[in-house]
Symmetry: C2
DNA sequence: CTGAAAGCGCTTACAG
DNA sequence: CTGAAAGCGCTTACAG
């Protein structure tokens, strides 16, 4: 393996000078620089990362801490879009993203993170908020370790986090339907344990109230993630004496079930019923008419998370707690243009 | 930051001894070991990874080289299931998986990989076969660098690789349909540029030939990935004077389109027409009847890739070129039980 | 603008 | 079973 000493020797300079050329630091005369670069090129040299890490006390690496179990990418590709965004941003800035699998047998996630942090394998960590506990928080604060949670931690915390604003998304959905002339708005969601759904419901109700819109009990439907259930649920809704003319579907499976029900009821979309969903994925491409959707760009959420973390690594005094990714309307054919 | 010297001092031993305890190497008396472990615990010590990497000339890290662009996880969650499998296997063995994003602006993927390999950030590399070029091969061979391609390289190569056997999968599909009494088999696929589809077509034809089954031209349909096209295509097929009684759909979108067409044609599934697809994802959960599918466990392909690479890292004399992941039949309702 | 030298925090033959 | 010491390949004040 060729080392910095080989380069120095061949170029007739000191290793210090080679280092300066490598890192583009301090003044090096153009001639010297050229000479060194030429030798590096000729000998096919790349500086040893471990040695550089040790000397500069930084690994140019960031961890992404989560469980990575079988099938997860099918159940939640969104999470990997975030990872792609993070990787994109980091690689642009000369950093690398390393996965920290919290799924290890016999070891608690907190312990795994603690070891990783203390061993300085990385300069910072991005963690799924599901693994943000008071204990982890204490660790981060004690070491003043750069970190950011994906999602708001489930407890009162001064850790940094970034999240999508589901309440705001629901607001947007309601405003869109109202702007398109809908007046009787219903919401079809998942189960009450579903935190994201409940936030969207909150946003939905808040927006309705702001617009002095009464929402009858029957206009709020909870469902198991089964398209048959959803179909029944929406069919019932459409059979009401005063049926809704605008339906907020909290994901694309619900949109799929709702469209089936609307079709069965022989109602025109969007003339008689307008529909809007939140999640474009995965069923949207299959649906007719093409659903109008509130979309959240999770790749760019990842980019933002990476960007924040790098800033924090460079400037330890930076102290920001939250970022919020903004939702965006994609107008298609289930609401009036 | 607490270092190995602090531990040594507190425990009243040398750093060499602490190192032996950390790495569970060489004989250390039980008493000494306990004492050292106690101090490590008390001081909340974790060995500095960079220093250890440098000293032992190994980073306990493996790279996964690919592009990680926006939306990729929706288009290809399978790839991330592989990554999860790799991560699972590596973390079990004390290794970490680091993403090497080949998408960097202005730099060629080959150059990015070369730098990463030469800098010894990792002890081995897993790369998408799309980025396996003769130049990359030369690098791996020259350095004798542990590597494995995901997918067979597109050129004659002695690199190591692992792949799913699409030809074999298609064989399985045909055998299944024949065993269920189908005699007129059609295949609905993507476009001719689609390498995976073409391999499946090859397997389909080979299996047909082996079973002395003639496949009329009209029984082979190419389609753009648009459910309308597929619907038309299958409708045409079912309108043939001699219509097929078994249809191989090369992915779940095609299965979705085919089921629509079969329904429209008022044919009974699986009595009059049986259908089988390859990809359970993402549309299967939406479909009725539930599709019978040939499934490939990509998580376990990832596990195998990781496992192979670790063995190769430990034993440089190991020289295996290929692994193949085996497909598996999931019997559901679109073929006879 | 350049270089000598110390130091980063470990591991590893080797000697005892 | 334990430790002194060299060494891994860089970076970084500091002196010149």
């Amino acid at each position: 393996m060729v080392t910095i000493r080989d380069i120095a020797a061949q170029a007739g300079v000191s290793t210090a000078t080679v280092s300066k050329v490598i890192n583009d630091k301090q003044y090096v005369s153009p001639q010297t620089r050229e000479k060194v670069l030429a030798v590096m090129e000729r000998l096919n040299y790349a500086p040893n990362a471990s040695a550089a890490n040790l000397a500069r006390r930084s690994s140019k690496t960031v961890l992404y801490a989560d469980r990575f179990y079988k099938g997860l990418p099918y159940a939640n590709p969104h999470m990997f879009d975030i990872i792609c965004g993070v990787s994109h941003e980091l690689s642009r800035k000369g950093y690398r993203l390393s996965l920290l699998n919290l799924d290890a047998a016999g070891k608690k996630p907190e312990k795994i993170m603690e070891e990783a942090v203390l061993s300085r394998v990385a300069d910072g960590i991005i963690l799924n908020c599901a693994f943000a506990t008071p204990q982890t928080e204490k660790l981060m604060l004690r070491l003043d370790y750069p970190h950011i949670c994906i999602g708001e931690p489930g407890f009162t915390s001064i850790m940094s986090w970034i999240d999508t604003n589901h309440t705001l998304s629901a607001n947007l959905a309601v405003e869109h339907l109202l702007a398109r002339g809908c007046r009787r708005l219903a919401i079809i969601g998942g189960q009450k344990q579903d935190k994201i759904f409940m936030e969207r419901l909150r946003g939905f109700l808040a927006a309705a109230e702001k617009n002095s819109l009464a929402i009858p009990e029957a206009y709020i439907a909870y469902n198991r993630p089964d398209i048959r259930d959803i179909f029944r649920s929406v069919t019932e809704l459409l059979g009401l004496p005063e049926r809704p003319d605008g339906i907020v579907c909290t994901n694309s499976l619900i949109m799929a079930g709702a469209l089936q029900a609307v079709k069965k009821a022989d109602l025109k979309v969007p003339e008689e019923v307008s529909l809007i969903a939140f999640d474009d994925y995965p069923y949207s491409p299959l649906l007719y008419p093409h659903p109008t959707v509130i979309d959240i760009d999770l790749f760019s959420l990842g980019v933002q998370a990476g960007n924040f973390l790098l800033k924090r690594i460079k400037d330890p005094t930076m102290l920001i707690q939250t970022y919020t990714a903004l939702p965006r309307l994609i107008q298609r054919d289930t609401t009036r243009a």
